[in-house]
Symmetry: C4
Subunit: 124 residues, 4 copies
């Protein structure tokens, strides 16, 4: 299996939509990081969260097995501290092995409506 | 005609929306791979599907003619096994000739609503 | 003014949504190419359209002034032939000077709903 | 903290949706630039706005602290002149230090509907 990707990925445009409408967890509003680890090694990724008005918070840790993907809702990151909803943030993700990272948002702030957006994260 | 693109492409954020609402096949929920093959040679692409909790499954095979595009719904990939709906996955696509790959999602889980998202896949 | 961008750009995932609902032209369904030409020279871009089952058609020509942007709906390209609605296609764009190209889709197939998606085109 | 990103970023596909519906400012229609500055230095970014039919306007200035993000609605840029709503434009952003830039659009032209799209900006 080839090693594919980069070691550092950046997402400047984080902002978890709040509140959400509809059955949980499918229609909860979220920002999500989608990681593919094509190597044979389990990887512990470190994630720093950047804000507009305070120093970065981190590292958050995300474990992704070898030859596995993992989709992590940013809403679910709570250690070292919960990421506040409805507040602008950005992310820098570091991995010990090459990975590929995609960013996805689901917005259900309006009842009966779902909006999606996303992009590949920026590889450094 | 120039050869444009890369030989390996990655999409970490797969997740076929389910269920869908509205007339099929136009409003079926789907994840889609859009491939452009600018070379003169027909290309048989090999696709491996990565999951969170089991080993990758593949190769799936996608044929794209020379100087042709092909849009393939991930929902329609059934050999070696159907890709389950509503389950996180990622993709690694390999081509014998340079191609360009775009990823698109259509979400019709809510009646009377369509949501779209997509991104260029990540070239290795 | 710096020259920014690339000479060749690719969009594999074209598909003009049809039909549309709502006042035209704001709510017409469309695929759109957004080009920024940061150079001092007017540029005549050549666009080839790729299909699943027939040879590419082109070149279509798009004029973008120096130090100008231009947003062109693919729906409006009619010479050498109109691009059919609701049919998968891909694009290869060539420019004599460096430009940057973004792709945008507006989907109004459902009355009272607008869905958007887009991505930077792929630079060669 | 590592320096991550590029010094020049381009967004060809600007177009602020107008009018908007729903409570402001959450549901105002907008185009947004999301900047992550991972360096230790405050950065004053210069932004030039390109149009289809007139010379570029700028520089607009955006201040982003060291180890900070900033999300700026294009709607809010007023000096040297307000950016008109519902008019196609493009952006070239220059930074004295490496940054990463993401583009996001929120479209609320239809009452009770929100549509999102976005992409990483193009790094030069």
């Amino acid at each position: 299996m080839a090693d594919v990707g980069a070691l550092v990925w950046v997402v400047p445009g984080g902002h978890i939509p709040f509140p959400g409408h509809g059955p949980e967890p499918q229609f909860t509003g979220f920002d999500e990081l989608c990681v593919l680890n094509g190597t044979d090694s389990e990887a512990e990724l470190e994630l720093d969260v950047y804000y507009e008005d305070v120093d970065p918070v981190g590292p958050y840790r995300i474990l992704v097995g070898g030859r596995r993907i993992r989709h992590v809702r940013v809403n679910d990151l709570i250690d070292p501290e919960a990421i506040r909803l409805d507040r602008p943030y950005g992310l820098v993700l570091r991995s010990p092995v090459p990975v590929v990272v995609q960013f996805l948002r689901q917005d259900t702030r309006l009842p009966g409506v779902v909006a999606l957006t996303g992009t590949m994260a920026y590889p450094v």
